[in-house]
Amino acid sequence: MKIHPNIAVNENGLLFNPGTGESFTTNPLGARIIGLLKEGKSEEQVREELLQENEVEAHTLEKDFIDFMQLLKKHSLISNDE
């Protein structure tokens, strides 16, 4: 899964997809995930970074992370083929 390169995200967690004109808001953790994906990190690398940065158990993070990635996919912000 890779985030589309033209997705814009600001420090307040506001996402803009210039391909569809849609805007979304996310919380700081969501913004952090998107920021890491935009840096080109893999899902595995993102999960590891989040585990180090936050006091959270791996299985809890895993569940929320999958949910969030599904949400990004649903809104065409990430895709498999890029």
């Binding site: 033209n6 814009a8 803009f16 210039p18 391909g19 569809t20 004109g21 849609e22």
Partner: protein, 353 residues
């Protein structure tokens, strides 16, 4: 070096909740960098708001409805031309385009230029002919069929599944979920716009629009894609945003290259769940939201005027993404005398109030 002043006549001054493109076109023309303008408004009715907007039009003349025939229109344009020395006319209503296309040679003899699609282009892109248009040019279109009698509704399930769209010849589109609704909309639409009524396959997805300009030789002079952010109950965009979607530009280039389209246009497209674009409609004129394209960096009305005057126009290749237009309405207060002057004399000089 001083810029030339070009006298441009513009119709579509009804800036209402289903707005004509006139005011947006004029705003683009007034922001042109290659010429100055004198704007001659062409109005059908005496309550078209832009007649009274003195910073938009310089003068407005009433013109006859297209139903009156092209000779009546030609005579009126000649009268106006004697007063105003028109260089270019930009017609902005679908319903009047046919008349102006027919008059193009006669107007050219008078020194009046236009930049319109040819009659063949105009006819083949008509929503009644969309199926064959898509097949001819290799563009995905929803299946459509023109109905000429209400009883044909009873057989539409041979070709279509519900829901489907019931569309007027010129304007209006309704979603019907069963035959009864389809019949109701058929009657409503045919009463307003006449026959045929077009039945169209309903494509589920998100609507996108592109406005642009073709030079008539297959080249794209301008193209700006937009998604509506706020839609009125008439389905018109009240707000929209410019997009970075290369597939829409590619599709537009393909359309212009294959058809050799001449003039302004708007493509209405639907993107389905699989990400495929279906061309729903081609409006053969500049749309009312064209000022977004101007604001994003592509002054389509200016380029169209220069093409009409036979000048070489460099194609626009860039525009700003994420520019948003938001419409608004406001009340102006005018003197009754202005209204009377236009109603009685068919002309109002907005600088002499």
């Amino acid at each position: 070096m001083s810029k030339p002043t070009i006298h441009i006549a513009v119709s579509g001054l009804n800036n209402i909740d289903s707005p004509g493109p006139g005011v947006s076109v004029i705003r683009g023309l007034r922001e042109a960098t290659s010429f100055d303008v004198r704007i001659i408004g062409l109005a059908y009715e005496n309550l078209e708001p832009a007649i009274y907007l003195s910073d938009v039009v310089d003068v407005t003349y009433q013109i006859p409805y297209p139903q009156g025939g092209i000779n009546e229109l030609l005579e009126r344009v000649k009268e106006i031309h004697q007063q105003e020395k028109i260089d270019v006319i930009i017609p902005n209503f679908d319903a009047e385009l046919y008349s102006f296309m027919k008059l193009e040679p006669a107007l050219k003899e008078l020194g009046i230029h236009m930049f319109l699609p040819g009659l063949e282009q105009f006819e083949e892109r008509h929503k009644m002919n969309l199926d064959s248009f898509g097949e001819k040019y290799g563009i995905k279109v929803p299946h459509s069929k023109a109905l000429y009698a209400s009883h044909e509704i009873f057989d539409i399930t041979d070709d279509f599944d519900f829901p489907l769209l019931v569309k007027g010849k010129w304007y209006d589109a309704f979603i019907a979920y069963n035959k009864e609704q389809a019949m109701n909309y058929f009657n409503k639409v045919s009463a307003k716009w006449g026959l045929p009524v077009v039945i169209q396959e309903f494509v589920h997805g998100t609507e996108y629009n592109v406005t642009g300009l073709g030079d008539g030789r297959g080249n794209t002079i301008a193209a700006v894609p937009m998604r509506k952010l706020y839609i009125t109950d008439k389905g018109k965009a009240w707000a929209g945003i410019s997009l970075d979607e290369p597939n829409l530009i590619k599709l537009t280039n393909h359309f212009l290259e294959k058809t050799g389209w001449r003039g302004g246009f708007e493509l209405e497209l639907m993107k389905n769940q699989e990400g495929e674009y279906y061309l729903l409609e081609i409006n053969p004129r500049i749309p009312a939201w064209v000022y977004l394209a101007v604001g994003a960096g592509q002054n389509i009305p200016e380029a169209l005027v220069n093409l009409a005057l036979g000048k070489e126009v460099k194609p626009y290749t860039e525009y700003k993404v994420g520019k948003i237009f938001i419409r608004y309405s406001w009340d102006m207060v005018i003197d009754r005398e202005q209204f009377e002057q236009f109603s009685m004399n068919g002309v109002l000089n907005s600088k002499q109030k």
